[in-house]
C-alpha cells in the first residue's frame, strides 16, 4: 500500500515535470508562430519557483485553505492516473469516474479560494469557469459513455489496452465524430482559446487568478500543470489507445498538447454565452449521433 502511494506521488510528480516541460517547449513553438524567438524551454519552472520564492499576501483563511485544497485534490487525482498499461499506481482503481469526481475537488477548492479573495473579477471568473464546465461536460460525457459501453470497462488502462488489442484501432478513428467532440471538449477543459472565457485577461483581468500572487499563485500554477496533465492523459487513454510504453505516451501527449496549443493561438475568444451555445449545439448533436450510431447500429469503423 505504501509503495502504491509512493508510486502515486511519483506519477503526480512525473506529470508536473512532464507538463511543465511540454508547456515550456510549447511556448517556444508558439513564439515561432508569432515571429518571435521565445523563452528558454525551462522558463515555466523558473516562473513557478520564482512565485514560490515570493512573499504572499493572504485574504483570509478560506483563500489560503482553498489553494491547498485545490492542490491536494489535484495531486490526489493525478495519483490514480495510469501512464502506460503497466505503470499504474493503484491498479484496478483507475476508473474514469474517479477522475471526474476528484477533479471536481480541485476545481471547487479553487472556486472557493477565488471567491474568498473578495474581488468581483474573481467571482465573475469562477462563475464563468463553472458555466464553461457545465457546457463541455455534457457532450464529453456522452462520448465517454459510448466508449465505456463499447469497451465494456471504465478503467482507463483497460480502455487503452482494449484499443491496442483491437489492432490499434483508436477511438479517435473508430468514432470520428466522437473524437472531434473529445478534442473540442478537451480544449474547453484546458481553457484554450476560443474557450478561454474564464481567464480573459482583457475582460476580467485573468479571472479567478486576479488576487493571487506569490506562493499561492505558485501553487495554483503547479495545480494547473497537473490538471492539464490529467486532462491530456485522459484524452490519450480514452481516444488514442493508451500507451504500451512510456515513449509512446510521451509522443502522444506532446502531439495532442501541441496541436491544441497551435489551434488555440490563432483563435479569438468567445463570450460566455457563445461558449455555452456552441457546446450545446454541434458537439452535443455530434455526440448524440455518435452514440446512437455506435451503440444501436453498431457501426464502428
Amino acid at each position: 500500500m505504501l509503495v502504491n502511494i509512493l508510486i502515486g506521488f511519483g506519477v503526480a510528480f512525473f506529470g508536473f515535470v512532464l507538463q511543465t516541460s511540454v508547456a515550456g517547449v510549447n511556448r517556444k513553438i508558439v513564439a515561432r508562430l508569432q515571429k518571435r524567438y521565445g523563452p528558454k524551454w525551462y522558463q515555466e519552472f523558473l516562473d513557478i519557483f520564482k512565485l514560490l520564492s515570493k512573499r504572499a499576501t493572504s485574504h483570509g483563511w478560506i483563500f489560503d485553505f482553498g489553494v491547498i485544497m485545490a492542490l491536494g485534490g489535484i495531486i490526489a487525482t493525478a495519483m490514480f492516473m495510469p501512464i502506460t498499461n503497466n505503470i499504474v499506481a493503484f491498479a484496478g482503481y483507475d476508473n474514469f469516474f474517479i477522475f471526474v469526481y476528484l477533479l471536481a475537488v480541485g476545481m471547487l477548492g479553487m472556486a472557493m479560494s477565488a471567491s474568498g479573495s473578495g474581488n468581483p473579477f474573481a467571482s465573475i471568473g469562477v462563475m464563468r469557469a463553472l458555466t464553461t464546465m457545465l457546457a463541455y461536460e455534457v457532450p464529453f460525457m456522452i462520448v465517454v459513455l459510448t466508449i465505456i459501453k463499447l469497451s465494456d470497462s471504465s478503467s482507463l488502462s483497460l480502455i487503452g489496452a482494449f484499443q491496442q488489442s483491437a489492432g490499434n484501432n483508436w477511438f479517435l478513428i473508430a468514432l470520428p465524430l466522437g473524437g472531434v467532440v473529445g478534442l473540442i471538449s478537451l480544449m474547453g477543459m484546458l481553457g484554450k482559446k476560443p474557450f478561454e472565457t474564464y481567464i480573459a485577461p482583457a475582460e476580467i483581468a485573468s479571472g479567478p487568478m486576479v488576487e493571487y500572487g506569490g506562493k499561492q499563485l505558485g501553487m495554483l500554477f503547479i495545480m494547473h500543470e497537473i490538471t492539464v496533465f490529467i486532462e491530456v492523459s485522459l484524452f490519450v487513454h480514452l481516444f488514442l489507445g493508451g500507451a504500451e510504453n512510456i515513449f509512446i505516451f510521451l509522443i502522444k501527449y506532446f502531439l495532442v498538447y501541441t496541436a491544441l496549443n497551435l489551434i488555440s493561438n490563432v483563435n479569438g475568444r468567445f463570450k460566455i454565452d457563445q461558449v455555452v451555445k456552441f457546446y450545446y449545439k454541434w458537439p452535443l448533436i455530434m455526440a448524440v449521433t455518435q452514440a446512437i450510431i455506435a451503440i444501436y447500429f453498431g457501426w464502428v469503423i
Binding site: 468581483p120 493561438n265 475568444r269
Partner: protein, 368 residues
Amino acid sequence: MKQMKLFLGPQHPGMHGNASVHLYVDGDIIKRSFLLPGMLHRGFEKGMERHSWVNNISLIPRVCVVEPDINEMAFAMGTEKLLGIVVPERAHWIRMIILELARLSIHLMAYGGLGGPTGNYTLMYHAHADRNSILDIFEQITGHRVYHQYIVTGGVRKDLPKGIEKDIHTFIDSLESRYEEYRDLGIENPSIVARIKDTIMLPESVVWELGVTGIGMRSAVGKPYDIRKVMPYARYDQVDFEVPTSDYSDARARIDCKLKEVIQSISIIRQCIEKMPLGPVRVPLGRGQSMRWTVPKGYVYSPVESSRGEFGYYMVSNGGTHPWRIGVRGASYPQGLLGIEKYMPGTRLDDAALWVDTMGVCSPEIDR
C-alpha cells in the same frame, strides 16, 4: 437588483492607455458607465503658452503618443496659415509620405490591438512586427523612432535620405502581400467574427449627436467624409484615393474600413514617391534668432484627418513670440467621454474592452 461596480482600468490589460472606465454591472450587462480621464493630463495647453512658437515644435508631438505626426502637421499648417507662408512643393509630398506612413503604423497598431480584447495575440504580434518596420523607416528619415519633429513650419526639417524610396517600397510591398493573411487572422476569423459582428453598433443618429468623426462616422453614414477629401490639405487633391465607407456600423465594419484604408494609404505612398518633384523642402523663417520669431495676430483652426477622425489645433496668436492660446481637439473626445457615458450601457461586460478599442478611444488626446 444590486449593481456591482467594476473598474476597467487604469491598470487593466484590456484598456489601452491610462484611463479608467467605471462600470456598474447587473449580472453581465452594463447599466451605467463613465470614463474617468485625466490620468495623462500634463497641462499641454498651458505648456504651449509658456513655450515660444519654435520650441513648441518639440512639444506638440507628445500630445498624442501613438500618432505624433498629425500633431506636427496641424501645428505647422496653423502657423503657416497665420504667417502666410507658401510651403515648397516637395515638402508637401514628403509630408504626405510621412503622414500616410504614420497612418499605416497606427492602423496596424489598432488592428493588432484588436488581438487584445478578443484574445488573438498572434495577430497582435504580427501587426506589431510590421509596425516596427515602419518605425525603422521613420528612424532613417527623421532620426527618431516615435517623436519625429520632422514636419515643421515652412516645410520639413530636411530632405529624404538617399535610397529611402527603395526601403519604403520593400515594406509596402510586403505589407500588401500579407493583406489577405491579416484579414484571415483577424476579421475573417470565425471566432473573432462571433465577437465583433452585429455588436457595438454606432448608428447615424448617434454619430451626429456625439460629433464622432473619422472611421466611426464614415462607416455609419456611408459618405466619404474625410478631411483629406472634402477640404484637402498638402497635395491630397492631386493623388487618387478612395475613402472606404459602409452604412452598417458594427464593430466589424469599422475594422473593415480601417483595413481598407491601409490599402489606400499604400497606394497614396506609391503615388507620392512617383509624383514627388525635386526642389527645396523648407522655407527659412526670417533671419536671426529663432526665439524672436513672431507670428502675426489671428485666430485659426487647423484640422487634419487622423486615424480616428478630425484632429485639430485651435491657435490664437497675439503677435508675440509665444502662442496666446492653443486648444487641441482630440479626435476621440466625443466617443470617449459622452459616448461611453451614453452608449456603452446596454452592452455586456465582455464587450467593454472591445467597445473602447473599436471606437478608437485614445486617452492621451482626451486628457492632454
